[in-house]
Amino acid sequence: MDWPDPLMLSRVQFALTTMFHIFWPLLSIGLSLYIVVMEGLWLLGRGEVFYRQAHFWTKPFLLSFGLGVASGLPLEFQFGTNWANFCLVSGGFFGNILGFEAAMSFMLEAAFLGIMIFGRRRVSRGMHFFATVMVAFGASLSAFWIMVASAWMQTPAGVQFEGGRAMIIDYFAAVFNPSWFYSFSHMWMACFETTLLLIGGISAWCILRKRQTEFFLLSFKMALAISLIVAPLQILLGDMSGRGVATYQPAKLAAMESHWQTNPPGQGASMAIAAWPDPENSRNAWEVRLPNLLSLITTRTLTGTVVGLTEFEPKDRPPVAVTFWSFRLMIALGTLMLTIVIWGAFQWRRGRLSPKLAHTNKWLLRMWIVMIPTGFIATDLGWVVREVGRQPWVIYNIMRTSDGVSNLESLPPTISLLVYAAIYLLLPVMFIYFTRRLVIKGPDLTSDIPQPPVRIKGDPV
């Protein structure tokens, strides 16, 4: 593949835009649900502080939502501009799912967002809460449809390819294809985990500096308490994904584990904890192995068969090193997340998170601050495992990525890639800049709570 080959440019452009776009849905899905909970608690009469929480976290939510809209639109159109031949083949199902996403979730979010943000003085409190719930629901529903579309590319089902075009034969089977559940739930949980790390980390920073300690102690404890469920659950869902991959995409699993030779019957497959793959010779240049572990994790038996990469033609194998190391790093980060959550819970139980003592937990708080970016990074690493591991296929075992690309010359995609790179790298910088300022300014704890409109009799509102 020569550079600048339109295929390579399109692949890099797709990877870049999706990896930088996904940051924003992670946050807007997670924060919208956090805000729903806070506003709900306020309306239930649990105190004004919950209103202040909802109000404060709405600002970073809004930023991430706006950046998500801005960076998301090109993704939909990119299928047509750069992957026209993929569109021709998959449109009958894939395109229609993108349409569903727009019709069911985007419209819901976009229409109610205006009311959620600008409408506190214009609609009743109940209506405002309803709008907030609809925004959160729309955001999560959007994730559902996108993951259905993505999962279908991993495990295509319910369609027949006639004359090079996907014809639906069973809609239910196509939507609820074999990998939809673990794909969606793992991603959805990643939204929560990333958001909670951000909320917890920002709160930790403020607690450490004794800025409005009570307010941020509440959000820190909220983040901690919810993470106590989310962090271990995410690891379980990850394990479930792994076993799904082993069943439906054995080549990908073998690449994730850099596992070359299928283990002979009766002998357990060992797991490479660390390795440097050597694809030319179909082996690892060096490796550190633990006996039987791969069989145990994948099949739940000590000697279960795990298919190796050599069972597949070299042209049908995914890139190994990237897949293997992204997978390792993601697991390491997930484990680290669980560690700081348990550590925090432990300190909480010991009574060390009281308003007076909280700031003395220096190392715990510093650790939470350092961990802020790890949710975003782990999510991107997971996506690399998922998408690079699917190669060389765009629709698994049906269409090759190289057959999906548009009819392009090099110049237009080179320019668009450069412009995208500039914009998409700038967005996180701006987000950090404005969020930092919001945090330094701190929550507004004093101004009046906006009052809903008073209805005068006979006035048609």
């Binding site: 801005a70 047509g80 021709l88 998959s90 229609n96 993108l98 727009a102 967002l113 237009p412």
Partner: protein, 343 residues
């Protein structure tokens, strides 16, 4: 239901989404273009404020249009976006700038750079959309590709024709016209004079351009000339054309008179809708003239049926909550900078 009927229904629905997008986001984008020529910070703030709560919902019609087109007519989606890579990118980059400028302006102490990003982003998006329309009308080369699959067979700069430049200018002016007439609804009395003038200037310029395009089109494309002069649709086409011209004359009259606040916007909408209906009639049964017809591009029957339930039935619901949104934010901006502040 028959495949042929389903395909036609979907062509209508996709056209409806496009019309809704063009008139709704059209006025947002038109206001953006106008803001480039507005040097008073307070007026610029008011212009952005007048659409702050609704532009996002309006842009969503584009996302919906894209998804529906992709699902119902994958061949068209692939061919058109592939062929018009350059103008599509121009539009997307413009829309990105427009979107982020709203967010960042709200948080920034220095408003000017983001107000400029809003204006120039809107202009780029409108110019891109105009070139896309122009590119489609200038005929896209369709044929077997290197791999043998039917698809776009031309080059990336094919869209650049005299016709597409004319169409682009007309689209820019049309958006400005509809944007300015929306502003009449929103701005306080002291700004209205200026806004009325904007409506007048942009609409006259647009009218002249459209006349020029209509007169030159038949010479540029045999396909269109046949449509206008003979063929089964010549009658309705002329009727729609006359209707549009009439609505347009009314618009000029009302704007010169300067007394009405709602009427200019409604008449601008009417001009747009009639012009669109005319274009649709002229193109039928093609989606990409003169090579891809509705029937050729349509997905298979189960897809079209499923989409009819999943998307078609939701259109009234979407219209309903968009209507509610507009109702909540109806009325003028009497307290500039106050009315639509985030809280």
């Amino acid at each position: 239901m028959e495949q042929e009927l389903l395909a036609n229904i979907w062509a209508m629905l996709v056209a409806l989404m496009l019309v809704l997008y063009v008139i709704l986001d059209g006025f947002d984008l038109g206001i953006g273009v106008l803001s480039i020529f507005t040097f008073d910070p307070r007026s610029r703030g008011m212009m952005m404020g007048s659409i702050g709560a609704i532009w996002d919902a309006n842009e969503t019609w584009l996302v919906l249009f894209g998804g529906a087109l992709f699902g119902a007519f994958p061949l068209v989606y692939g061919v058109v976006l592939n062929a018009l890579y350059v103008p599509i990118m121009l539009m997307l980059f413009g829309l990105i700038f427009r979107a982020v400028s709203f967010e960042f302006r709200a948080h920034s102490h220095r408003k000017l750079p983001w107000e400029r990003a809003f204006g120039l982003g809107s202009l780029a998006a409108v110019a891109g959309q105009g070139l896309v329309l122009g590119g489609v009308l200038s005929q896209i080369e369709v044929g077997p590709q290197a791999t043998g699959v039917l698809g776009f067979a031309g080059g990336p700069w094919d869209f650049m024709t005299p016709l597409s430049v004319l169409v682009m200018l007309a689209v820019v002016l049309g958006y400005v016209m509809i944007g300015a007439s929306y502003l009449i609804l929103k701005v306080p009395a002291e700004m209205q004079r200026r806004v009325h003038r904007m409506v007048l200037a942009s609409s006259i310029a647009m009218f002249l351009l459209i006349v020029a395009i209509t007169l030159t089109m038949p010479f540029l494309s045999e396909f269109i000339s046949h449509k206008w002069l003979a063929g089964p649709y010549a009658g309705p086409l002329w009727a729609l054309g006359t209707g549009a011209a009439f609505a347009f004359a009314m618009l000029l009259l009302v704007t010169v008179y300067r007394k009405y606040t709602r009427l200019p916007f409604l008449l601008s909408l009417l001009v747009f809708v009639l012009a669109f209906a005319g274009m649709g009639t002229a193109l039928y049964p093609y989606l990409v003239p003169p090579s891809i017809t509705i029937q050729q591009a349509a997905s298979s029957k189960p897809t079209l049926v499923f989409m009819l339930f999943g998307i078609g039935l939701l259109i009234p619901v979407m219209l309903l909550y968009n209507f509610y949104l507009y109702r909540v934010f109806s009325g003028g901006l009497h307290e500039p900078g106050q009315e639509y502040e985030q809280e």
